[in-house]
Amino acid sequence: MGWAAVAAALALFAAGAVRFAASTDYCRLYRSSGSAKVSYERGRVLAVEGEELERDDGRGILTGVQDLAVRIDSGAHAGTELRIRNVLNYTTHFLLGKGDSVVLHVDQADPDHYIASVYSVDRAPTLLLFAALFAAALCGIGGRRGARSLLGMVFTVASLALVFVPLVYRGCSPILAAAAVGVAVIAASLLLVAGASAKAGAAIAGSIVGLAVGALLALLFEALAQVSGYTTAEADSLLAIAGRGGMKAGELLFAAFMVSTLGAEMDIAISISSAVCEVRGGNPRLGPRDLFLAGMNVGRDMMGTMANTLILAFAGTSLNSMILIYSLERSANQILNSNAVAIAIGQSLCAGLAVAVTVPAVAALSAFLLSRPRPRPAL
């Protein structure tokens, strides 16, 4: 019933966010003179006219060169056919065949002279395919609720990419921005999944408690371990950007801590309040204490796997570093005290702690809200 309104509101929000994000004073770190311009255009491989490739046995990748006949399909040179040498090495290795779609790096020095090279295979179709599969799975398996969580995702992505990032870039405190966007994402996602119910209310309030606790822990960790946005690898570029719009680069890391725990907090919160709701549905006479204990029981089971989930997610993203650290037999002193490792471990532990604290908070809130004689009717 109200879903059309919800979808319309979401669309309105997204459109507003797009406008907000676009009306910005972009940094042009690198500028070119006069008519010089670099653009990325679509193209197609018409033929492979020659190639010299060899497999690098030690490393298992193909290296060498391919001479391609390529047609540019977009931009100022659309329709132009030209020969391009495609180099396969440790930086770029796309093995191309006739008919492949590619993205070309077209570097125009002046009106008469440009260099086109292969930037990448065209990945947009693959990305779209997987996005479609994901959406289909959510709606097919999850039904209406799946469709609603898809809307929730759209809201989350729009909030982060089109509101949070531009806000931070323009000099709004990353901590405040993360808190505001975090609360909005929690409320919107959980309301979309669970409707306007006591169940959703408990989960939302519990997630916000988790977010707040996570924020306090992250502040404490940063102060004790002396890490900040200034100790990340991107610090130099971030400082350059900060010089222009007043972005608070030092607070960025903290905001990243907050954003990265959001999902886990919502996850455990809705699981517990949902379980408490089910338990109460089965036995409406249960009092707050029983409901709290039921919630805690579910939460205890989940806590272990959830903490693991967080640590595995961080491990997954830093797998390359883990292998390098292992292979080089670094000392514990060096590893634990490097910026990257200290930050990754700190982030996992703060998130885990925040999730742990979310458990009793949601259990208590759901017990309190759901054991009241007249729970608010679901919409």
Partner: protein, 450 residues
């Protein structure tokens, strides 16, 4: 911890020695005709060829006609400047402006004037004295020697970046002391170096014009720079104040079309001996403009036996900037240009660490290259050098603990360092020194038999 402390005290001992050396040389020069013309930032660059030099300095008030007076030192009687036997060269004076990165891309007047004068007709291996002025008032006099171009060498430093304040006491003064120390030691070790190449990020400040101005003062302060020509390239930090960078230097064959964003910061070239130096402004996104620039420079100098390209943003380095998206773009698109125009060596900065690659072709080491070799003959690829900080104001840790595929030698001693490139006919050799104990970090030569 004790190791670190030992290294630091060795460093500060060296620092003191360098400061004393710098002081002594300034005393020796100051004796040569004191002047009343007020200038700042006096420096000079190699000219279009070895018989020319390009001077630049700032003044408070405009000179109708800035002048460099130059005479052979042999013609000087005693301490007085031999004005009667001097030749005068005049140039241009222009109002200094800047486009600060954080200032909505608007050009602002800085105050002061940039004077530039080109001097020509110099002879090899001759001692000269010079002074600059407006034709009536003169600066104090300084001296320099031209060198034998047939067998010469030049000094190289990576990012002095004065004001980065990321090491030691974290003050501009300590960055400046490190810079003075490095120059003192480099010139003492190689007193006959023909010039100095500084690979960008001479200064640091992104945001405040007056901070960057103070950093320029510190950068030009060492007296060695009154006697040693210097060729700089534009780094990402220098670039943040727009055209301000270009006002400080007088670069030969400066392109108004290629590699420029503000009109006075383009690519430039010069020839010294049998070497064509291609000095590129890598802040521009379009690499095709550098391609055109190099093509033109190579066509104009068909006799140059060696081609050396210098620019800031290292494409093959291994520290913090290794995986920056803009660096990856350059890693893909710059090397084919160097291969096309048969560049022999590429000198770069930006990554505050030292890396020498194997000869590279098509994005990978030339097959059969020996990573342990100290020299290579007629390589089928280009050798890329990335130099560590010349002042020690900032160092970067390795991006990956293990060396990259392209790497033949790398060093991060967190001590200022400099290099000396010697060109002796068919041999180009690069020797890199750490300034605390002056030991050699790496030494490598490229031999040309054809």
């Amino acid at each position: 911890m004790s190791v670190a402390r030992g290294a630091f005290s060795a460093h500060s001992r060296g620092l003191r020695a360098g400061l004393i050396a710098g002081l002594l040389s300034s005393v020796a020069l100051a004796a040569f005709g004191a002047g009343d013309y007020s200038i700042s930032g006096l420096n000079f660059a190699p000219g279009s060829d070895g018989s020319k030099l390009n001077f630049a300095w700032f003044t408070e008030s405009p000179a109708a006609k800035p002048v460099v007076q130059i005479a052979r030192k042999a013609d000087a009687a005693g301490d007085a400047f031999p004005a009667g036997k001097a030749k005068s060269f005049s140039g241009t004076s222009s109002k200094v402006s800047a486009t600060p990165f954080n200032g909505d891309d608007k050009s602002v007047q800085v105050g002061g004037y940039a004077d530039k004068v080109a001097v020509s007709g110099l002879r090899d291996s001759t001692e000269y004295v010079y002074r600059v002025g407006d034709g009536k008032s003169w600066s104090q006099a300084y001296s320099f020697s031209t060198r034998d171009e047939r067998n010469f060498g030049f000094l190289v430093v990576g990012d002095p970046q004065l004001g980065a304040k990321a090491t030691g006491p974290k003050t501009l003064a300590s960055d400046a002391a490190g810079w003075q120390d490095t120059l003192g030691k480099a010139v003492a070790e190689h007193p006959s170096a023909s010039f100095l190449v500084s690979l960008g990020d001479e200064v640091n400040d992104y945001n405040k014009l007056d901070s960057q101005a103070a950093e320029y003062s510190a950068f030009f302060a060492p007296q060695q720079l009154r006697s040693l020509p210097m060729a700089t390239v534009n780094g990402n930090h220098d670039f943040q104040m727009g055209e301000y960078y270009g006002f400080h230097y007088n670069q030969p064959n400066l392109s108004a079309r290629y590699g420029t964003s503000y009109g006075n910061d383009g690519d430039y070239w010069f020839v010294y001996g049998e070497v064509l130096f291609l000095m590129l402004n890598s802040n521009t996104e379009s690499i095709a403009t550098h391609d055109l620039f190099i093509r033109e420079a190579v066509e104009k100098n068909p006799g140059a036996k060696w081609r050396i390209a210098c620019f800031h943003h290292s494409v093959y380095s291994e520290a913090d900037h290794f995986a920056d998206p803009d660096v990856i773009d350059r890693r893909t698109n710059f090397p084919p240009v160097f291969e096309r125009y048969k560049v022999d060596a590429v000198l770069q900065g930006h990554d505050h660490s030292y890396t020498r690659t194997l000869p590279m072709r098509d994005g990978k080491p030339v097959a059969g290259s020996d990573p342990k070799a100290q020299s290579v003959s007629d390589p089928a690829g280009v050798v890329y050098f990335t130099f560590n900080s010349g002042s020690g104001s900032k160092f970067y840790d390795w991006h990956d603990a293990a060396p990259e595929v392209f790497s033949a030698a790398r060093w991060q001693g967190k001590v200022p360092s400099f290099s000396y490139v010697a060109i002796d006919g068919g041999k180009l050799s690069v020797t890199t020194y750490r300034t605390d104990d002056m030991s050699v970090i790496d030494s490598y030569s490229i031999v040309k038999t054809k």
